[in-house]
Point group: C2
Chain length 469, copies 2
Amino acid sequence: MTAPVPADVISRLKAVLGPGGFSEDAERIAPKLVEWRDRWVGTTPFLALPRTTEEVAAVVGVCFEAGQAITIQGGNTGLVGGQIPQGEILLSTERLSSIREVDALDDALIAEAGVTLSRVHEAAAEVRRRFPLGLASEGSATVGGVVSTNAGGTQVLRYGMARNLVLGLEAVLPNGEVWNGLKRLRKDNTGYDLKQFLIGAEGTLGVVTAAALKLYPVMASRAVAMIGVSSPDDAIRLLARAKDETGGAVEAFELMGRLGIDFALRNIAGTRDPLAAPHPWYVLAEFASGEPGSAETAMERFLAKGLKDGLVRDAVVAQTDTQAKALWAIRENQSPAQKPEGATWKHDVAVPVSLVPRFLEEASAAMRALVPGARIAAFGHVGDGNIHYDVLRPDGGSDAEHSALRDRGSRIVHDLVASLGGSISAEHGLGAMKTAEGARYKSEVELAAQRAIRLALDPKRILNPRVLF
Amino acid sequence: MTAPVPADVISRLKAVLGPGGFSEDAERIAPKLVEWRDRWVGTTPFLALPRTTEEVAAVVGVCFEAGQAITIQGGNTGLVGGQIPQGEILLSTERLSSIREVDALDDALIAEAGVTLSRVHEAAAEVRRRFPLGLASEGSATVGGVVSTNAGGTQVLRYGMARNLVLGLEAVLPNGEVWNGLKRLRKDNTGYDLKQFLIGAEGTLGVVTAAALKLYPVMASRAVAMIGVSSPDDAIRLLARAKDETGGAVEAFELMGRLGIDFALRNIAGTRDPLAAPHPWYVLAEFASGEPGSAETAMERFLAKGLKDGLVRDAVVAQTDTQAKALWAIRENQSPAQKPEGATWKHDVAVPVSLVPRFLEEASAAMRALVPGARIAAFGHVGDGNIHYDVLRPDGGSDAEHSALRDRGSRIVHDLVASLGGSISAEHGLGAMKTAEGARYKSEVELAAQRAIRLALDPKRILNPRVLF
């Protein structure tokens, strides 16, 4: 809990924001204090609701002068508690909600921080373009949050994370100054690329107020298949072949264990078993091409070859959009389908793609040694080496007992990940929740460098003070 | 010119490097003191030739302690004088020359800083992969330099600049500590992404000693065409259509004015006029696809449509590799072909793609007002909005007179670029040559942030002291 906010800071903030630019109403503030998984509940005496970049600058300026901490919140979809205040000022970007520009010739869209990802998708579609970053939470997640957390999603394999999809940024630096880096350039080598410093900094180096996003062409053909495979090893062999054969037309390559399919069948109404017989592992693959018909042809050839040499046990290709959506729903429901199954330890880890099978094998042996009967639901973006590795309590076991072992279990998973040169937070960031754990796996050299950079830009550590090092 | 290097620093450097690890021989050092365009000549009393990362760390450590400046040099292909010492220690990466690992399953290649780009290409090809960053200087340019300058090239349109092609880095920080960030991860959100700070920092935040580079599949089909067009405006309309129709299969889209073709015909032996009649502007387009035959089909359809509606005046598609190479040679010779034509002012600028026509029109009007009869050879990566904008003296004019006006002319070009939201150095960096000019177009907010970050990591400013802000 941070120190109480002095009354004079509050009155200066009110003055710069004006009526309607803030709230002290507990009911208005309440939804912003609870993380959607209910694992974090916060408190704040003052919600700043700036409508312009200049108002953000004024708020940050007042706080910088006073050494007053601020927590920044976008769509409140973060999973690591970074957006939840613990007594300090809460700055919401919700009223920074304009799409300033969409240009199909430049393949660029300029949106303010509070614009939701769904609105970006819609605006891009209106000019026959797309922004290839999709999240389950895209109806709420905002541009500022997506950029500040370097969000990923299911198309990273082809298009990269948010970092690769930003042409320019506008931000308010910790000292309250506006940095205008809202360029629409594809190339600019004139000193340090400040936008790259801000992307993924989780709001600790500045408040992103607007971003110029890269747009891409709409694809003419698309093929979605659910593939039964024997092992993660076969899955990554198939992945290498798919990338090779299609020249990079693989848009998604998602792995799921059978247990996750069983959970979906049991707990998500309307789910149908995608293949006639059960298989140990499943891959949801999507190819897309600018050439009409090309994705379908490539998928057919790919599956035929895999069936012939045994890497593919069985497969179904969606024949309609509805079928494609049904296959994707199985993947997207992997996490919700766990809910009725009881206590879980969740991990969002990455290892080099080639080490995914070894990670899964060694982690699962260790988990079952710790908790005999533990149910392991592993799924994720195997094309990026990113596995959501969830360990559920044994069938009929005690939630409390399982939860009590969470830290011990997670430590084992994270130690293994680190020993394989991996990441303990592939896409969710560290936020307030995982910062200590994150520090454990960084060298002193790296921590010192990160701290020096932060101190240089935010000497009073006012922005998101509990987040990162 | 920096201060003389103290004798005790030299003797400590000799001690950490050992025999064979340094040179004081003027003849051995000489080639490293001259930039290839002969515009920069430097001097140094001591060439450090570390063979390992630890030796680089020892050299930087000695210099950090003594506050001794170092200039870092890779393949010596830079165009802005960043690699040329002016009295300080010269650290060459030439003996950091191992390719440590090539992994086709991870699509990753780990190379030390002194490995040339050509060797990276060869090593990738051996596992049926490619590293999609090509430069005219790739036989000499090294991994360390490519990464530190965020190099571009002709495939940026599809694959991005060096920044997008790096999975991990190993570097020696200014204080002499080794930062091991040599991961092979596609996703890692655990704090600031230090590699993004080092990429494009032109060696001012650390000495890159090794990089993990992203590999890509080899394409199954490829089509190269030379297209005559009426105007840059038509060229960017065609570009938008090409991206749209092919779903992003455009690997290169290069614009050239007729004057550049004339120069090549006159000054480069073996050049043939690519089309039957002359055209005001030319586009060299390359499509590539993972689907056999698909690139050729897409190119034919694209050209047929363009011919029908007049965006394409005429076009030729390469039928063999030799023909494709001949078309590319015309593009690659645009710069060499200018040499016999006399004095030139060269610019490497970028503007938003949609503003390329306006930039060309306004810049050329201004140049001709300043120098009646000035010959303007504009060419470059129009797909990235990156134009190499070269202004040659009038036919038969005086070189000296033209050179005397260079600064005035360049200022006009750069002011125009800045007014269009552009960059005065799209791919070459600022180095020692353009740093003052670069600072002119940055806000005080941005310069202060950049200086604060540099000071935080290199408080004594020992690395490449004349480079950047």
